[in-house]
């Protein structure tokens, strides 16, 4: 018999806010253990939750990017369970009226295009982290991550292969990075995924027994886990190797196998109820429209515009839309210098090279589009040589600077002082009669050597075309 895999995903994404969801502690990644805590986020009695408005902004933005309906009245609810990393023994989340519902994400795989339905996006707080010390046989709790805002994106069970799951996750990551909702960095845990999977005979409309693998944080591990779990389910159905039960399983990527954790609680066991300390949040038209107007273009809309209106090659456009930071910088630079091809090249080649050297990601690009545009303009206007412009670009990655002023201060402005050029040429020719003769005897390379020496003497600050012509003339006359 042929089987099909039915997969639904719950994706947890840490929001890019400065502070936590209900208190003013820093939500930044890292820091010494228990550095980012206050009485509220470590569960001391008497503190009351005050909702961070920016979290709601981002919850709405995520919903809008994923074609969701926004609940204009959205509420927070409490979910009860005991775990030492959960200081209040309840998590504040959204159960009854999540901020965004009924969305859609379009993906493309080798099998073509497909729409994945989004059930809901809800806002919630993260839990802390247990640190186990086997040596002393103790466990300690780090509350830095408690109450860091998350959104959980719950899909319908519309996915059917590892390839689709990865396409879906990459699509989510691209859209949410674009909307600056989150950096979605799986390696830092700011994007984590629970995979709900079941298997059924192809064409059947009855769902099989579902298992859930929690807290997956690498695309390759997710792909391996899906392959493994699908095979395990089919084996159980076909050969009766084990009885499938609805449960939560842990994926062990080094062993390449999943292991049962505990039986899945049903929703009722979590005893959800509305948090009486958080009034329902009413999203009026003004708020809604402000968030909507701040949304970026969708990446493929940008790509089409870059190709059709700005004349970029498809490959270049595709490269730029991998990162919102690149797009913002590109658009800013284009606005100033008016040359899209140049702006794209400077980002794709020169900026990428510097980021690589600095071991930074494209999202960490921190130069302004305006400054890059000004730099490109200096090159196009032949005021600064390309080689020197690259030096200025490197400096721009270290500090904010005005390219024109920096060029002036460092002697990078091209001089059209032909007198200075003439005297340099004369000196170079006088010092190297051998090369002059070699050139006259047909050795083209000799000219390059002389040209290079002149350029070096002039520190690159001359128009190469003019220099070349003047040099040729002087050689003829020599």
């Amino acid at each position: 018999m042929r089987y099909e895999t039915v997969i639904g995903l719950e994706v947890h994404i840490e929001l890019a806010t400065e502070s936590k969801i209900f208190c003013s502690c820093s939500a930044k990644f890292g820091g010494e253990q228990n550095d980012h805590v206050c009485p509220a986020c470590c569960g001391m009695p008497g503190m009351l939750p005050i909702v961070n408005k920016h979290v709601v902004d981002l919850g709405m933005a995520a919903g809008m990017m994923l074609n969701c309906d926004i609940n204009r009245v959205t509420t927070f609810d409490k979910k009860s369970y005991y775990y030492p990393d959960l200081p209040c023994s309840y998590q504040t989340t959204q159960w009854f009226a999540p901020v965004s519902v009924n969305g859609r994400v379009d993906i493309e795989t080798s099998k073509g295009k497909k729409s994945i339905r989004i059930k809901q996006i809800h806002m919630e707080e993260d839990a802390g982290k247990l640190v186990h010390d086997d040596w002393t046989n103790t466990s300690l709790v780090d509350f830095n991550r408690t109450s860091v805002p998350l959104i959980e994106i719950v899909s319908q069970p519309d996915l059917s292969s590892a390839e689709e799951v990865i396409a879906y996750l990459e699509r989510l990551r691209s859209l949410l990075r674009f909307a600056k909702v989150s950096e979605c960095r799986m390696e830092q845990g700011s994007m984590r995924c629970d995979v709900n999977l079941s298997v059924r005979p192809e064409g059947s409309d009855v769902l099989g027994v579902r298992t859930e693998m929690k807290n997956m944080n690498s695309l390759s591990a997710i792909a391996r886990a899906i392959e493994y779990e699908t095979a395990r389910h089919i084996d159980a159905i076909e050969n009766g190797t084990e009885e499938l039960v609805q449960e939560t399983r842990r994926w062990d990527d080094t062993k390449g196998a999943s292991f049962a954790m505990r039986n899945k609680e049903t929703a009722g066991d979590y005893r959800y109820f509305p948090d009486p300390n958080v009034m329902p949040i009413v999203i009026d038209d003004e708020w809604f429209n402000t968030v909507k107007s701040n949304l970026p273009e969708f990446p493929e809309v940008k790509k089409a515009r870059y190709i059709d209106e700005l004349g970029l090659a498809e490959g270049d456009a595709e490269h730029l839309i991998q990162s919102r930071a690149f797009c913002d910088c590109f658009e800013g630079a284009y606005e100033v210098c008016g040359n899209a091809k140049e702006a794209a090249n400077w980002l794709i080649f020169d900026c990428s090279k510097i980021l690589n050297q600095k071991q930074q990601t494209v999202d960490q690009l921190n130069i302004s589009g305006k400054a890059l545009g000004e730099l490109i303009k200096l090159v196009l206007d032949e005021k600064v040589s390309r080689a020197n412009a690259k030096k200025i670009l490197s400096a721009m990655f270290e500090e904010e600077l005005d390219p024109a002023e920096y060029a002036k201060a460092n002697g990078f402005i091209v001089s059209n002082d032909t007198g200075a050029m003439e005297s340099v040429i004369a000196a170079v020719i006088a010092a190297d009669p051998k090369s002059v003769n070699d050139y006259k005897n047909g050795k083209e390379k000799a000219l390059m050597a002389l040209f290079g020496k002149c350029m070096k003497e002039l520190k690159g600050n001359c128009n190469p075309q003019v220099l070349r012509e003047m040099l040729l003339k002087s050689i003829e006359n020599a």
Partner: protein, 401 residues
């Protein structure tokens, strides 16, 4: 009788606070072994406010465990009963006998109202949202309110003035404009017509009935019309409040797990035993009953939405019913409890007595409406009518007894 849990100063004219209100210079334990010696890193907004108004903060007044009992009988620090075994709430005794100007006390399940009725002091549970709950031990957040207990209405008004107002740190705190509504109608003539809830007054003992008759006489003498209505609908508030209060309590006290602070059992070998034994050893019988009851009421299946959900709907029904009454009446007169006195034997034989006797206090708790207790009776008014209710209390004070 144990009046104070700790006492930094008890100068005459100071304002005492109960053991549910966090202070940074004295421990706050909510009357529970679980929090014995707990020092908060921050103080309650109401404490800051009374200090800002120039009052000295007095001792921490003894309350029952998480203040859900009758009169403080479940306190870890000793009973609120005299030698004869008669129960008396410490929050009322300190203003009656100890010379403090007022006592701020969290009204979770009507305890301060019962204490005021028995000690014949004055108490106001203000309109929900007008006094910050920031820094109070959370129990039943959707209804509990910090109230003011005093010997005289004048003292009560002084201290109330100091504590009402908006607080950014409390998401349920009302705006300053709304809070200012409390100051209107300080003339008792704003209260023209009072309805006595017969379904409640029918069930009280002779002494309580006498208090009610005395109140009626004073009111009528001052030109206030007093009518009797059945009001059985209000009796439904008790069951619903017991569910909501227990559910919220169960959730709120789940943070006391022996992991971070508070009592930790020495008897454990794993995390489950740490949780179970810490809580088993530190919590008292009434609290445990409430936790079980609340936990149960929050369970639900796809088909059965659970007791909590139904109780939310009853809250709405009770509120709407009372709103309808307030179209005709300015205040509702209710007893505070069925007897004028309770003994230790009453609560020993019936640990959850406060979950039955709160039939009289639940309507105001579940709706967040203001309630004044004076001369042993309770007046419940519409939202923001606190000042008018106090004005009526004032004439009772002058002419009552």
């Amino acid at each position: 009788m144990k009046l104070y849990v700790s006492q930094s100063s008890a100068a005459a004219g100071c304002v005492a606070v109960d053991d549910m209100i966090l202070t940074t210079d004295q421990p706050t334990a909510a009357g529970s072994k679980m929090l014995d010696g707990y020092m908060s890193l921050f103080g309650a907004e109401v404490v800051e406010k009374i200090k800002a108004a120039g009052y000295e903060v007095g001792g921490k007044v003894n309350v029952g465990e998480f203040s859900i009992d009758m009169l403080g009988e479940t306190s870890f620090y000793g009973e609120c009963a005299d030698e004869s075994g008669k129960l008396a709430g410490a929050v009322a005794e300190v203003v009656k006998a100890d010379g403090v100007k007022a006592c701020l006390t969290l009204d979770v399940n009507g305890m301060p109202r019962r204490a005021a009725a028995i000690a014949k002091t004055v108490f106001l549970k203000p309109t929900y949202g007008t006094v910050s709950r920031y820094g109070t031990i959370p129990v039943a957040c959707s209804g509990e309110t910090v109230g003011v207990m005093a010997n005289t209405t004048a003292n009560l008004r002084d201290v109330l003035e100091a504590v009402i107002g908006h607080d950014d740190k409390d998401g349920t705190s009302l705006s300053d404009e709304k809070c200012a509504l409390l100051k209107r109608d300080s003339d008792f003539k704003a209260v023209k017509k009072i309805a006595v809830i017969k379904a409640m007054t029918d069930k009280v003992d002779g002494a309580v009935a006498a208090d009610i008759d005395a109140f009626k006489a004073v009111a009528e003498k001052n030109g206030i019309e007093v009518c009797e209505i059945d009001g059985s609908e209000l009796l439904a508030a008790k069951a619903a409040w017991n569910v909501l209060m227990s559910a919220e309590l169960c959730n709120n006290v789940s943070r006391y797990d022996g992991v971070k602070y508070g009592y930790r059992t020495p008897n454990y070998t794993n995390i489950d035993e740490l949780y179970t034994n810490s809580r088993t050893e530190a919590f008292g019988m009434l609290l445990k009953s409430a936790i079980l009851y609340g936990s149960q009421s929050l369970l639900y299946t796809e088909k059965n939405r659970g007791a909590y959900d139904k109780s939310l709907r009853v809250r709405r029904v009770v509120y709407d019913y009372m709103a309808k009454l307030f179209e005709e009446y300015d205040a509702l007169l209710m007893p505070v409890c069925s007897k004028a006195a309770y003994t230790k034997a009453d609560t020993d034989s019936n640990v959850t007595l406060s979950f039955e006797e709160n039939v009289y206090t639940a309507p105001a708790s579940i709706t967040g409406l203001p309630a004044v207790v004076v001369n042993g009776v309770q007046l419940v008014g519409k939202a923001f009518s606190d000042s008018a209710l106090l004005a009526v209390a004032e004439i009772c004070e002058k002419e009552g007894k």
